[in-house]
């Protein structure tokens, strides 16, 4: 029986090559999208799952509230560590470690390496909690002495290539030319997916040996929190997290002040990898993004299912005879449903196998939206493959049940009596499904256009300062020697290709914020305002062409501080006109000028109250360089950059030279939107692709059915255009209905999305119109593949066969 079904299925698929191909292409697209999304979800949710007792392990994190703002920090104040270890009965084991974010240079056997921020200060407790496997060294004592380090196997191979583990032990690693440590152990890299990706564990006691390190990492201040101070706690089996937190809070609340409070919370290990406002160590996955991806996958699968239903029911008449015969010789409706479902299953399984081959390609196309470290090879592992199988079975069931019902319902008498065609299922069902399909596709098209429009708006918005032909060079942060920076500034300024140079702090626009609280006494009361600040020299204002509204520019001096305010800050401190602010003393220094508002961050946030200070020059670590016009082929800029690099190499021979153009910095702020746009492009493309496949299938089918009619009409004098129009009109209806449905849908969703931008583009009518036109043109184009040929066909041939 099965064999019989199977044969019929295969022969049917083969006989209707065009339709099978259309069906399979749609299914392959949908299934591979779902497969990739599953792979991502599976991968992301697997993080840290393999840590022993993971349900009892938490990370202690802090939320700081001050003057109306609150900031989440994934570290804790250093004194909390001792409290957690000694005073909280619920804690079975507390493990503290410190992320080394200060080391710039690591030297091993004469070779320099950069800190990849995977160096930590840790002890045995850390190693035990994560379950490292030791390849060399003594697990009990390796990290107990100061100035010792444990490397993972991978890191050991980088530092000491071709050296057996036994010989790596005892070798030395030099941090920042000053801290010399000895390798006391080598461990295997953690074999499971984890956020604990650190590869170099320096012993905790090392922090005590060096005054600088001690000052940076082990500050004894309850109010100062660094995200490098990490505290993990393993609770006792039945302990409740809230009890542990209550005790910790009792200690920390003693140090709260009126406008500065710290709150601690326990962040479960299972949440560590996902964005809850607290960063994981290297990369944080977004649950929202996973949800979006899942919805997209479901949508694409839905489109493929609709294709299948439409194409199968449309040509049901071809199978009607078979149904009739089988029923007349003893087949039951149930058996026929099973048979047709089986056929769908074969088709879907075929599509699933092809999807497995296509998925890596899709991963490449979607890579901007997927985690960089996504292991593509995991596609071919048991959990993913079994998901694929279940998915195929599920899709087959959903896609197959209605067509199977339609096909098996034919009554033998009706079918066998006559040779005329039979309608399979209701035409309105197919039209509704097609409309749904095109609504989804249309939505993606409009969304793509709107996201593109917003990106365009963000990039071309007048920022209030010049961003072209300006690049910034960060000088070595930890180098205290300001005279070297001055030297570099002078060298760069003397380059003929360079227009202007400023040795200042941040660029006007940064990703993130740099703010401080400024006090102003207006004679009656003291006004405190949180103000975004930038520090610069006298060239800062002319270089960025900030517009001065009142007063004068700040002067470059070592000791005196002066303020420039923007219009927002003028209003915030209660001055009516810019002129009124001039000469007022804020935070002990006079306001000398007022500049027009300019963007300090992305268009997601409002332009804040801002102050530009001429602070003591020690904050000025960034060289801002404005170049002359790029010349032919940008040769001027190339020379300029080469010149700057040469000056750099003379002054900082061991440091790496890097620069960034400001317009690039601005563009990078919208990387998320660019990625979104990229993803939407793909979605729109795939959705259109699948929907058009379905439409084409329906058109091919009906046109073939109407071959004779077309012939007769042509004989009677219809023009090609009239025939094409006749064939096309019916199919354009669902496309147009879809357009009408997609307008409110996309308007609503996209205006929600635009809410996240303070400065945003408008949802103008022409975006929707353009989306509609694109869709209609695509649909007409696809249909013309078949209709035009049918209309051009010679009636002699089509009518002769009758």
């Amino acid at each position: 029986m099965l064999r019989n079904y199977f044969l019929v299925a295969i022969r049917n698929i083969w006989r209707n090559k065009v339709f099978s191909l259309l069906n399979i292409m749609g299914l392959v697209t949908g299934i591979s999208a779902a497969l990739v999304v599953y792979l991502v979800v599976f991968y992301e949710s697997g993080f840290n799952k393999a840590v022993a007792d993971k349900d009892r392990i938490f990370r202690v994190v802090s939320t700081i509230s001050f003057s109306g703002d609150s900031i989440k920090n994934n570290g804790v104040p250093v004194p909390v560590i001792t409290v957690a270890k000694e005073n909280v009965p619920q804690v079975e084991k507390a493990v503290d470690f410190f992320i080394n974010n200060t080391t710039a240079r690591i030297t091993v056997e004469g070779k320099d390496f950069k800190n990849k921020e995977d160096v930590i200060f840790a002890d045995k407790g850390y190693m035990d909690m994560l379950g490292y496997e030791w390849l060399g060294g003594d697990a009990a004592t390796a990290l107990s002495q100061p100035l010792s380090v444990v490397l993972t196997q991978e890191r050991a191979r980088v530092y000491f290539p071709n050296t057996p583990v036994a010989q790596v032990l005892g070798k030395q690693v030099l941090y920042d030319d000053s801290i010399r440590v000895t390798v006391t152990g080598v461990v295997k890299d953690l074999a499971y997916d984890t956020d604990f990706w650190f590869r170099e564990m320096i012993s905790l006691p090392t922090l005590q040996t060096n005054a600088t390190l001690k000052e940076i990492y082990l500050g004894d201040n309850w109010q100062s929190i660094s995200s490098s101070t990490q505290l993990l706690v393993k609770l006792r089996p039945a302990a409740r997290p809230q009890d542990a937190i209550a005790i910790l809070d009792k200690y920390i609340s003693q140090h709260d002040t009126k406008d500065f409070t710290t709150e601690l919370s326990l962040h479960p290990l299972s949440d560590l990898h996902f964005d809850t406002g607290f960063e994981a160590y290297r990369r944080t996955a977004s649950r929202k993004q996973l949800d979006i991806l899942s919805m997209i996958a479901v949508a694409l699968l839905g489109l493929a299912v609709i294709n299948f239903v439409n194409l199968t029911t449309a040509q049901a008449s071809r199978r009607a005879k078979e149904t009739g015969i089988r029923k007349a010789i003893g087949g039951t409706t149930g058996q026929l449903i099973k048979q047709f479902l089986g056929e769908t299953m074969i088709l879907t399984l075929l599509a699933a196998v092809l999807a497995l081959l296509l998925a890596p390609l899709l991963i490449v196309s979607f890579h901007a939206f997927l985690p960089d470290d996504l292991p593509v090879a995991q596609l071919y592992t048991a959990p993913v493959l079994s998901f694929l199988f279940l998915l195929a079975a599920g899709v087959a069931l959903i896609a197959g049940i209605y067509p199977a019902y339609v096909l098996s319902r034919f009554q033998p008498v009706v079918v066998l009596k006559s040779n005329t065609g039979h309608r399979g299922g209701k035409v309105w069902v197919r039209q509704t499904l097609t409309a749904v399909q095109f609504t989804v596709a249309q939505f993606f098209v409009i969304a793509t256009l709107i996201v593109g429009k917003q990106i365009n708006f963000s990039l071309n918005k007048d920022l209030g300062f010049r961003k072209n032909a300006i690049l910034s060079v960060n000088t070595p942060r930890r180098d205290p020697d300001q005279s070297k920076r001055r030297q570099l500034e002078a060298r760069v300024a003397s380059l003929p290709e360079v227009d202007m140079v400023s040795l200042s702090a941040n660029t006007p626009v940064i990703s993130g914020t740099e703010s401080t609280i400024l006090k102003y006494n207006n004679g009656r009361q003291e006004v405190d305002k949180t103000v975004e600040v930038r520090y610069g020299d006298s060239n800062y204002l002319p270089l960025y062409q900030l517009r001065l509204l009142a007063g004068r520019n700040i002067a470059t001096t070592d000791s005196v501080r002066e303020w420039l305010l923007n219009e927002k800050a003028v209003a915030a401190f209660g001055f009516k006109r810019p002129q009124d602010a001039i000469g007022q003393v804020i935070e002990g220094h006079p306001v000398v000028g007022v500049v027009a508002n300019f963007s300090a961050a992305s268009v997601r946030s409002e332009i804040p109250a801002m102050a530009i200070g001429s602070e003591a020059l020690k904050r000025h670590r960034v060289l801002h360089v404005r170049l002359r016009s790029p010349g032919e082929d940008g040769v001027v800029w190339k020379n300029a950059i080469a010149g700057i690099e040469k000056a750099w190499k003379d002054i900082y021979p061991r440091e790496e030279f890097s620069y960034e153009f400001l317009d690039k910095t601005v563009a990078n702020m919208y990387r998320q939107e660019q990625r979104m746009s990229n993803l939407l492009n793909w979605c729109a493309g795939l959705a259109i692709f699948i929907s058009i496949l379905g439409l084409l299938g329906l058109v091919i089918f009906t046109t073939d059915q109407r071959t004779k009619e077309i012939g007769i009409r042509k004989v009677l004098g219809a023009t090609v255009w009239q025939v094409v129009r006749m064939l096309t009109t019916d199919f354009m209806k669902p496309v147009l209905v879809a357009f009408l449905l997609a307008i409110p849908l996309s308007w609503w969703v996209m205006s929600q999305w635009l809410q996240s931008f303070v400065y945003r583009t408008g949802l103008t009518w022409w975006v929707f119109a353009a989306g509609g036109v694109i869709m209609v043109l695509m649909a007409l184009g696809a249909m013309s593949l078949k209709t035009v040929r049918a209309a051009l066909s010679n009636p002699v041939h089509t009518l002769k066969t009758e």
Partner: protein, 221 residues
Amino acid sequence: MIELQKISKHYPVGFGKNEILKDVDLTIREGEFVSIMGPSGSGKSTLLHILGLLEEPSAGQYLFQGERVDKMNEKKRTQLHRGAIGFVFQAYHLIDELTVYENIETPLLYKNLSGSERKSKVADVLDRFNMVAKKDLFPNQLSGGQQQLVGIARAIVAEPRVILADEPTGNLHSDQAKVIMELFKQLNDQDKITIVQVTHSDLNATYGNRIIQIRDGYIQG
């Protein structure tokens, strides 16, 4: 074995109804070879469909092997289709996607016979109809007469008590028709299968032992 009592059949047409069969009384005994004749639209095919349980009468009683058909459930009717009744159609109605062998085998699949039983039965029939060489061909590779042979082979492979044939030679030329009719005769004589055929042809009717004339829904004489 077949007994029709006051069978009527009508379809709704607009506000009225179109009467196809009116008060048909008919008895067909085991082993008969009956030909139903009549002009187009007289209701012969409808009568045959009612006999074959493919259509239900609007009024009247139908007893098949002494059992009231209208009292039968779906399962019982399917049983009859599988075992007791075989169909032969004018347009052959073979499944295009299956080979000759597979087409003949299909009724046995629905009867849930084992693989070896199916094999021997299909082989017997193929042998008897001299079609062993053609067993792997598809219907569209055969002539009309050959297709109808396959149709008959499929009808008898499940060893039915009665074969209902709806103008079995309607699409064939006379030589082929003769072969088919002789085959029916043989099945009736040797295998004692009851045969009911609908036909236009007086010649074909002579192969049977009873002729029923039908006109405007009434049985004549």
